[in-house]
Each structure stands twice: as C-alpha cells, then as structure tokens.
C-alpha cells in the first residue's frame, strides 16, 4: 500500500485542504445516497428516484475522477479515465425531469424523450478512441494529465476537441436549468397535489444544483478565457474549494432526500 501511495500520490500538500475535505465528505455521503436511491428505485418503481440517482451517480463520478487526477491515483486505474463523458451529459436532463416529476407527478414522459439522450450517445461515441487505446498509451497520457491537466482537454483520444464537451455540456445544462426554474414558477400549489414539503425540496435541490452549475460554469468560462493557464486553474485550490463545497451541499441534499423518503415509507 505504501508503495502504491509513493508511486502514484502527487500534490500531497493538498490533502489537508478544505477542498479535499469537502470532496471526501461529499464522496462518502454521495455513495450512501446513491445506494439508497437505487434501492428505492427498485423497490418503489418511482421514476423520480431513478432520475435523482442518475444525477447523483454522474456527479459523483465527475468529482471522483477529478479527485483521482488531482491526486495522481488515476494512473493506477487508467481504465476509469474518460469513461464518464456520456454520463455527464445525463446530469442536466435528469435534474430537469426530476424537478418536473416532483412538481407535476401526474405528467407522463414526453413523447420525444429520446432526444434528450442524443448528447449521451455522442459522448459515448467520443469516448471510444480512448477506450480502444492500449494500456501503455493510456498510462503515458495519464502521466501527462496528472501533471499538466490541460492535456486532459487537448489529448487526441476523441473525434472532437475535448474542450467542446465542456462547452456543450454546460451550455445544455444552463438551458435545462432555466427550464427547471420555469417549472418552479409555473407550479401552483393551489392546483397541485404535492405537499409543500415536496415543493420546497425541489426548490432546495434547484438552488444547490444551480449554485454548483454556476461555479462549474464559471470555471469553464475562466478556462476558456485563459487557455494558457488551464492546468493552473484546474489545480487552483481556491476555486476547487467552492466547487467542492457545493458538491458537499448536493451530497447533503441527496442524503436528506434519501432519508426523508425512507422515513415516509416507514411512516415515521
């Protein structure tokens, strides 16, 4: 184990930072929440649990892989890298539909639901070149990525420039976010069968999710406007701390959402 740590661990000085603490705490809570939500999805056959479980899983994977890259451990598991691209495209639509079905539980799935999955398919296709690369190539790439994170958006393992994933993903996410807030505006408690608590839950989720998205979007904008310093910005603990904090908030919300629904089931 010691050899493993010695071999792969970099940026050890960041281990005691607030950003890393928030992230680790967030990971722990997210894992519990994901397991619980998957359980609820299976047991109750409720599409809201499925959607929020997908949001939780994709967000967790995103943050987890970032942390692995930051600490250098991704080199120990090169197969993990670049696998999350399609998953990340799921976060925004899933969050939107979660809010939709939370506020309007009687609404059916839209007729052209599959259109929301198109970016996921494109992401899946773009992840193929890296998946097919040899393990030596992957290791060589990750050896560069962990020290110079901008290689992560400049590597040739993809059909498009990797930065476009960030641009498209966040552009779409903001469109979904606006639609999400529109839902909250249109929702009328007097005409709705849901409880006030359910509405507030959707509002809190939207606030936390919006905050996280704004910070991540702010980071993407700063990366795009300062491309020479991509690596530095992606390692900047000041920036990562706030994003980690909002990830922790999201994890907290997921956990309380899980327990709330478990308690409802138990009638307490």
């Amino acid at each position: 184990m010691r050899d493993f740590i010695t071999k792969f661990w970099i940026r050890q000085e960041a281990w005691n930072s607030w950003g890393m603490s928030f992230a680790l705490l967030g990971f722990s809570m997210s894992v519990i929440a994901i397991i619980g939500l998957v359980y609820l999805t299976i047991r109750r056959k409720d599409r809201r649990f499925l959607l929020i479980a997908l949001v939780a899983t994709a967000s967790f994977w995103h943050a987890f892989i970032y942390a692995l890259i930051f600490n250098g451990f991704i080199r120990a598991v090169p197969e993990f890298y670049n696998k999350g691209i399609p998953l990340y495209y799921l976060i925004a639509p899933c969050a939107y539909f979660f809010v939709l079905f939370s506020l309007f539980p009687r609404i059916k799935w839209p007729r052209h639901m599959w259109l929301h999955l198109l970016p996921v398919v494109f992401g899946l296709i773009d992840a193929i070149p890296y998946a097919l690369a040899s393990i030596e190539e992957k290791r060589a790439l990750l050896e560069q990525v962990v020290y110079d994170m901008q290689v992560g958006v400049r590597h040739p393992y993809g059909y498009i420039d990797q930065k476009w994933h960030y641009i498209v993903k966040f552009f779409m996410a903001f469109i979904y976010l606006i639609a999400q807030w529109r839902l909250l505006y249109l929702h009328d408690m007097e005409l709705s069968p849901i409880s006030v608590a359910s509405r507030r839950n959707a509002e809190y989720f939207s606030i936390i999710y919006s905050g996280q998205l704004l910070l991540q979007g702010g980071m993407v904008l700063s990366l795009l406007s300062n491309s020479t310093q991509t690596s530095f910005l992606m390692q900047d603990l000041d920036q990562l701390t706030t994003i980690s904090f909002f990830y922790l908030m999201l994890s907290c919300w997921l956990l309380q959402y899980l327990f709330r629904n478990l308690m409802v089931k138990n009638g307490t």
């Binding site: 903001f174 807030w181 505006y185 919006s210 979007g217 702010g218 310093q229």
Partner: protein, 978 residues
C-alpha cells in the same frame, strides 16, 4: 650576502620546478563605468553576485550586464554626497564610508540601517578601516574603537589612538585578522588583539617601517608587514626584515608585489611572472615557486584597492576593474606564429607553418630553426625518430633527417605531368617504399626509391581523385581513407567509395580519425560527424561543441580532442567540454593539420593561429571533468508596470526570491537577470517560461525578460546556464504568480453566468407569466362567479321555487326578492365584467366606478357621500389592483350599510405613479368593543384577503365616532400571483 645566497637558492629551486602550475590568471571585468570614466576607487562583490563599485565618489552596481548608479536603484534621496570606500559584511550589508559618516545599506531589505543594534551609534562616525574575513567583519572607527559586527549586534573589542592626521591611503590592509588575532597598524603603533583572551597588546612600529608601511599579513605566530621601500618585515615580538625579495627594484610599491594569506600559506606575486607560496608561520618556508600568468600591463596599472571574495580578488585600478582568480588548467604555450604540422626528432620538436621551422627542445624555449629554408611546411609524417617526411605546400615533399631538410623533385610520367600538383597538404605511408601525398589535385603515390610520383589509380586505371583537393589521408589495414573539400571517401585498393555525405552533397572535411571502429570527421559546418555501421551522427554546437567548424581531430582512449574555430573541444562519454581564451587558451582558432601527439612524453600538441598549445590529454580531461562551481543566475531587479502608468521597482534580495507574486493590476513585468562571474566563465543563459513557451531560448544580451499582458496564473520561469567552456548545465526556476483581478476570477464568471441565466430565466418567466395570469384570472372569475353571483342565483332559484309551489305566503315579497336578487346578480356580473375588461385599465376608471357605486348604494339609504378622487399619473392601474380595490371598496360600503348608522361617508382615492391610497371614513362607529371581545367579522377577513392578494396594506381604525379604512397599494411591487 645572505640575501644573495637565498636569491640564488630560489632561482635554482625555480628552475628545477619549471613545470610548476600557473595557479592564477586575470581578466578585465570592466573597462570603466563608461568609456570616459575608467578609474575605480574600490570594488566589492556581494553574496548575490553583483559587484559594487565606487568611482568618482559615486556608488555603482555592476550585475554582469549593466553598470547602474546607485542613485537610480534607490528611490529615495541619497543620504550621502560622496563615498570614499566601501565594504560588504557576510550578511549582505554595504558599509559605506562617506565624507561625513558611516552608512549601512542592507541589500536584503534595500534600505539604510540606522537604529538596528549593529548600526546604532556607528553611523554617527566615520570608519578608519574595515577588516573582512570569511566569517568576521570588523570596523575600526575614526574615534579609535574597534567593533566586531554580527548579524544582529555589535561587540566592542578594543580602543586605539586614532591617527587624525594621516595623509596616505594604503592599497593594502593595515587592519587584518585571522582566527586568533586582530592586527591594526595605526599612528606608529601595532595593536595585536588576542581573540581568545580578549587582551590587546601594543608595539611601537619603528619609524623606518611605519613611514612606508603598506600591508599586514597575519601569520600563525606573528605578522608579515610589507614595507614598500624595504620589502617584508616579520613581527614576532620584534620587527626584523625578511629575506623575501623581488628581482626588480622598487616593485614593492604596487600590487606587482602583491601578497595574501590563503589557508596555511602566504602567496606572493612578483613582477615578471614570479610566484611564491610560503608557509604561513614565522619560518616563511618556501612551499612552491613558479610562474603566474598575470599580464604585465595589469601589474603596472595603478591599483587603488583590492578586495577578496571567496577565491577571487577584485582589483580597482585607475584603468579598469580586474579580477584575479585560480586557473582551472594551465596550457603550455609555444608561440611560433600560425601553426601547421609538427614533428619530433630526437629530443626536439619542430613546428611547421609558413616561413622557417621553429624548434624547441623537450625542456626549453622555442626559436626559429634557420638550418632549414623558409618553406610552407604543411603536414608531417614521422617515419622514425630521425626521419620525417614533410608535405610542402609548394614543393610537394621534403624529408628531414637529423635536422637536415632535403626536398624532392619527383619525376612524373609525361601522361600525368599536366595533372601534377606540388601543393602537398597531407601524407601517409603506403605500400612498400611508397608514400601517398594528398595535394591540391588528388592523391599521388611517391616512391622513395625511384623518386617517381604517379597518381593513385583504381583497378580500372582511373585517377579517381583527379580534381580533388585532399585534406587528410590515412592508410591502415589495407584500407585508405581520405577527405576532400567535397566529402569523405574510402579506397580498398580496387575502387573508391564516398562515405559521407551521401549522394551528391558536398561537405568540406578537414580531418578524420578512426578510433575503436568509429570514424570521426572534422567538418566545416556540421561539427564532428561520427560514422558508424548504422549511419552517422553529428556532434555540433547544439550538443555543446565549440564551433561547427572543426579543423583537427585526435582520439585517445575513447576521448576525442577537436581543434575548432572557437576553442578546443573535448568529447567524451556523450559530454562535451570546451576551452577558450577565458579558460587559459592563448588563442581560439585552430589550424588544419596542426596536431601532433608525442606518445613518449604523452603530450598532445594542437596548433592554431598563434602557435601551439600542448598538454597531457589525461590531465586536461581530468580537469574538465572536475565539478565546476556553476554560477547561479540571479535576478538583479524587477520592474512592474501597473495600470495608470505606474511602475514599481524591486531590488531588495528579499523581494527577488523564488516565488514572486504580481499584483492583479500588473500590466508589464521585467526581470533583469544578473550574470555573475561572466568574466570568469563563459556561459550562455537560456530561459523558458511555462506555459507560454515551448522550449528554451537564448537570453537577450540585456539579461532582461519582459512579459506583457500576462493572464492570471502561475508562470514558472526557468533559467538554464549552458556552459560554453565546462560542459555544465543547470537550470533554476522562479515561480511567478499573477493574481487575478476580480473580473478574471471564477466568482466573476459565475456572476456573469448568473446574470445571463437570470436574464434568460426572467424573459422565459415573463412569457410564462401570461399563461399563469390567464390561469389565475380564470380561477378568480370562477371564484367570483361562484361566490358572488352563485349565491344570488341560488336565492332567485329558491324564491322562484317557492312561488311555483305556491308555498310563499307573501308572493309579492318573493317577487320583490327575486327582482332584488336579479339586480344584484346583474350588478355583480357587471362588476366582474368591468373588472376583467382591460379597457377599464385607463386612469380614472376606478374612481368613476367607485364614485358611481357609492352614490348608488349610499344615497338611497340617506347617507351623504363625500367623494374625493385625484390621479397624478398616466400610468394604468394593473388589473389585479383595480379589481381587488374595487371589490374591497364594495365590501367596505356594504359593511357600513349593514353595521353602521352613518350619516355620511367620506371616500378619498389618490393615485400617483407609486401608490394607490384609498381612505373610507364614516361617522357611524359605535363605541369600541372591549379588546377581548373584539372579533374579526367575515367582511374584515375578506378585505384583508383581497389586500394580501395585491400585496397591499390595510388599516382599520375607530376613533371618536369615526370609522376609517385605509388601503395602501404599492403599484411598483404588486404581487405576481393571485
């Protein structure tokens, strides 16, 4: 007499030790402050690599690139007018002895020190002298105190009688110290302070010594005193003259009789290259005697001060600044003009070239050899120790036997006569009694026995080197290799083949050697080319070679010695070392064919434009491989350009550390790099800034790196020292951090996104609002219809049922009720329609409707109506406000009719751009009910509900028989939802 004996002994010793090392050499650091000001008073080197100079009473800093006046480096007003001398303590502080007082300037903080413990009170006085050792710094003040200076404090050691009338400034030190004692010679008294006991002894210096006293050199048990008239005196309790002498008269007056203490030795430098190392004790035993290589013209310059820093001495003279330091290697030099080939015959070396040969015995000096005629002696081949063949450039071939030259005039077959060239450039023994001579037109085979020369032919009978100028020839193991102006070839006896370069490419190849199965080519333009079975590889300037033009090669034990156009290069173990004039070479440009290795003496001779140098190759290689103290690049200054045309300049060592943070408003950033010791070691500086540069590039001659328009982030600045002379390479890194301005932070971008998203959301919501308002309106209409009209219609229905059933006893009353209900329903319908009709949103509509309703409702009841309406805005009243205000007004009036016996009702409605105020007052208030029985009726609750729906405030008061309802609607903050 004893001096004469001693002198003779020294002379004999010196001859016996002819090969003593040349330990010191000198270079000129600076010609002057500028071309017109070449006099330096004193110069000191600081620990940060810069040299501080005093010239003309002004202070300057030299960082290896620029000489900058201190007045430009120090932003505030200078606290001095004239600097007389200076010293630098071990902690990086300048001690400036000015005309008025002593000043201390801290290079780390870049400020003068006045109140610190080590400076307090000292700065009120002038210094008599400074004494510096590696660890100590001592100050003797003009009021007769000697202080030992520490990092943070000072210690008083002893006092002395100061010389108030001294007229002479010595170049040497009259204030000296070693680990045991501190010596001070002043006012005819010698002070000896024992550092262990703290005791201070004094001795009167005899006037004959004192009047010409110049320097003190501490010994283990005494003191060596230089008197510039008599020589060296020894003090070991008594003063006595030593036997140390120079060959020249009156040469004690300057540093040409210069001495210093180094470890356990006293080093003395005399005129004409004499050099002595004596034991540092009172016996003054000679340890070494030899020659130094300090140039005579430097010796005779007037030295104003010398200062020692590490192994180096800085000499401030009237004609420039010089540095003297130990030499890393000493080349033996044979000054014989532009050199060509050479050879050894018996115990004498003969050097070729243009004109007479030069000859030099194995031990001795070089001179012209006039027993042989003037010729162009180009290349040589030693057949044996007595016989050497010489390729003559004009004259074809000669032979030297026992110092006697014979030239040949070969017979050439008539069919080749027109092609024969007598310009011989190289030669090699060939088959039998033949020699091959490379000429300006091919290779000729010369038979010694027949004196016949024929061109070298291949098996087809072709003169395959016809038209080629042959530059080098080697015949070994039946294989001939040769180089020309067009490339490198081999000939196996049958046919020739071009080995390099491939194809029709032409490349001048001066020389070639074969060592360990590898072929090395000295090329003109590609450096050294290594040919192997698998191909070729160049070793050129990029790999560290002195020059890409290589004239001569010699290989021994896997090490290649190359004489190039710019110095001597050694290639070994994939490393390249270079020697140039800075490293002791008397010249840098080597010559073709001027290379010779004396196997017996293990001397490699390499000739160039100034003659020959010779050395033991293994010694040179050993010296080259020694770890060289790599000069560390330093940042001499930082200049930051800020917004608003402001600039900040940093010179303090503390501000120039490894990590530098740029403020967020920095626009430009200049780093001035010093080039420490550049006069001692030739090196190149290269730099690279991550992530904006892909590779290293040469530092500008100004040593300045300028960065403009830096975005926030981290910029590691790598500076690599790339040696031209020693094969070393080292990289240092500074980290530059540009702080982001707020508009460059993630938070700002998040806010931008929030604004954009918020705006988009607002637009989307505004569009959705219409849908939502319609929905709310429908809800409101349905509620009103249900609440208001539905009840009336129910009443009408019930009365109609009673009538139809004939159950009603009072049919007239029922019919009246039906009529009343119907009118009220019509009124209600009219109100609802009025409320939802947007055409009634114009200003004044509400007041008209209210006034009409008030008179219609109250006057029939005998209640007087006072209506006051005022509108101060053109703004339309929102439908939700108009509707709720009107319905609330109706509720109030109904309540008055129902519950009050009012005689009059006053209604005031005022509308401006911000507020709608409605006050309804009547005098039908009954005495107020007790607080605890006060209960809100349905009407009041309805009014409050309506007020809340439009985010308005309603106040109901009862006072002095007046009942008042006050409604206040903020028209700018209307509730969105109904």
């Amino acid at each position: 007499m004893k001096y004469i004996i001693l002198y003779l002994c020294l002379l004999v010793f010196g001859i016996a030790d002819l090969h003593a090392e040349h330990p010191y050499r000198h270079v000129q650091v600076l010609k002057g402050i500028d071309d017109q000001h070449v006099m330096f008073t004193v110069a000191e080197k600081d620990r940060f690599g810069s040299i501080w100079l005093v010239s003309g009473g002004e202070l300057y800093r030299y960082d290896g690139v620029h000489v900058i006046p201190f007045s430009k480096l120090y932003a505030e007003k200078l606290p001095f007018d004239e600097i007389q001398t200076l010293a630098i303590d071990p902690w990086g502080r300048l001690w400036l002895n000015t005309r008025n007082s002593l000043l201390i300037f801290d290079l780390r903080t870049w400020r003068f020190c006045f109140n610190e413990p080590f400076a307090e009170r000292l700065t009120e006085r002038k210094a008599q002298a400074f004494c510096q050792t590696d660890k100590d710094f001592l100050v003797a003040t003009e009021n007769g105190e000697v202080w030992q200076i520490g990092r943070d404090r000072k210690t008083f050691l002893f006092s002395f009688v100061a010389d108030k009338h001294k007229g002479r400034q010595t170049v040497g030190n009259l204030f000296a110290a070693d680990a045991h004692r501190i010596w001070l010679a002043v006012s005819g008294t010698l002070y000896a302070y024992d550092r262990r006991t703290g005791a201070c002894r004094t001795a009167a210096i005899p006037p004959r010594i004192d009047d010409c006293i110049e320097d003190l050199l501490p010994l283990k048990d005494g003191l060596l005193i230089r008197n510039y008239r008599d020589g060296y005196y020894l003090y070991d309790g008594n003063f006595r003259l030593t036997a140390i002498r120079s060959t020249q008269e009156n040469d004690f007056t300057n540093w040409n009789h210069w001495g210093f203490v180094d470890g356990d030795r006293v080093m003395l430098f005399n005129n004409h290259g004499e050099y002595l190392e004596l034991s540092r004790d009172t016996s003054l035993t000679i340890q070494k005697r030899g020659f130094h290589r300090l140039a005579e013209h430097v010796l005779y310059k007037r030295v104003n001060a010398w200062r020692r820093f590490s192994d180096e001495w800085l000499l401030a003279t009237d004609d420039g600044l010089y540095a003297v330091f130990p030499s890393s290697f000493s080349f033996e030099y044979v000054e014989c003009g532009s050199a060509r080939g050479m050879f050894r015959q018996n115990n004498c070396y003969y050097f070729g070239g243009y004109g007479f040969l030069h000859h030099m015995p194995l031990q001795g000096s070089v001179m012209e050899y006039k027993k042989a005629p003037e010729k162009n002696y180009y290349a040589m081949h030693m057949q044996d120790r007595d016989t050497t063949y010489i390729a003559l450039e004009s004259g074809f071939l000669g032979r030297m036997v026992a110092g006697r030259l014979t030239t040949f005039e070969p017979t050439v077959p008539s069919r080749y006569a027109h092609k024969f060239s007598d310009l011989g450039y190289c030669l090699t023994p060939y088959k039998g009694s033949t020699l091959l001579v490379g000429t300006s037109n091919g290779i000729w085979q010369y038979d010694i026995r027949t004196n016949q020369a024929v061109p070298l032919l291949d098996t087809t009978g072709m003169f395959f080197t016809d038209g080629k100028r042959i530059l080098s020839l080697r015949y070994k193991n039946g294989k001939l290799s040769f180089s020309t102006e067009g490339g490198y070839f081999v000939f196996d006896g049958h046919r020739h083949r071009k080995r390099y370069p491939e194809g029709q490419q032409q490349l001048m190849i001066y020389d070639h050697v074969i060592d360990g199965g590898k072929e090395y080519l000295a090329t003109k333009g590609r450096g050294v080319v290594l040919l192997t079975d698998s191909g070729s590889r160049s070793i050129n300037v990029q790999q560290g070679l002195g020059s890409n033009v290589v004239y001569q090669l010699f290989a021994i034990d896997g090490t290649l010695f190359a004489g190039t156009h710019r110095g001597l290069s050694i290639i070994t173990d994939n490393r390249v070392f270079n020697y140039r004039t800075n490293d002791g070479l008397p010249f840098e440009e080597f010559n073709h064919q001027a290379i010779f290795y004396d196997t017996a003496e293990r001397r490699l001779f390499m000739g160039g434009i100034g003659g020959y140098v010779f050395f033991d190759p293994s010694d040179l290689l050993k010296a080259a491989k020694q770890d060289i103290a790599v000069p560390e690049p330093r940042i001499a200054a930082l200049h930051i350009g800020l917004t608003g045309n402001r600039y900040k300049h940093y010179y303090a060592a503390d501000a120039l550390r490894d990590t530098m943070r740029l403020p967020e408003d920095a626009l430009t950033f200049n780093m001035d790099f010093a080039r420490p010791d550049v006069y001692r070691q030739g090196y190149q500086m290269q730099y690279k800034i991550d992530p904006v540069m892909d590779g290293f590039q040469d530092m500008a001659a100004s040593g300045q790196i300028t960065l403009v328009g830096l975005r926030p982030g981290e910029y590691p600045v790598h500076v690599r020292i790339w040696s031209a002379n020693g094969g070393f390479e080292k990289t240092w890194t500074w980290l530059l951090i540009k702080q982001p301005a707020f508009v460059e932070t993630q938070a700002f971008y998040a806010l931008v996104l929030l604004s954009i998203t918020g705006l988009a959301t607002y637009i989307i919501i505004q569009r959705a609002k219409r849908v939502k308002d319609e929905k709310a309106l429908r809800k409101q209409i349905s509620r009103d219809l249900h609440d208001e009209v539905g009840g009336l219609l129910t009443g009408i229905s019930m009365q109609a049922d009673l009538l139809s059933m004939g159950a009603s006893r009072d049919k007239q009353s029922s019919a009246a009720s039906i009529g009343q209900y119907s009118r009220e329903a019509v009124q209600m319908m009219d109100d609802i329609i009025w409320a939802i009709d947007v055409r009634n949103n114009y200003e004044g509509s509400l007041q008209e409707r209210m006034e009409y309703f008030a008179f219609q409702t109250l006057e029939p009841k005998g209640i007087r109506v006072l209506f006051d309406g005022e509108t101060k805005t053109d703004r339309k009243i929102p439908q939700i406000v108009r509707q709720n205000t009107y319905l609330l007004f109706k509720e109030v009036l109904h309540n008055i009719i129902k519950h009050a016996q009012a005689e009059w009702v006053s209604v005031t409605v005022r509308v401006d751009s911000k507020w709608l105020l409605m006050e309804v007052q009547n005098n039908g208030a009954q005495s107020p009910a007790p607080e605890k029985t006060l209960r809100k009726g349905q009407g009041t609750r309805n009014m409050e509900t309506r007020a809340r729906q439009m985010n308005a405030a309603i106040v109901v008061t009862q006072d002095n028989g007046l009942f008042t309802v006050l409604l206040k609607v903020n028209l700018r903050n209307i509730k969105w939802t109904i």
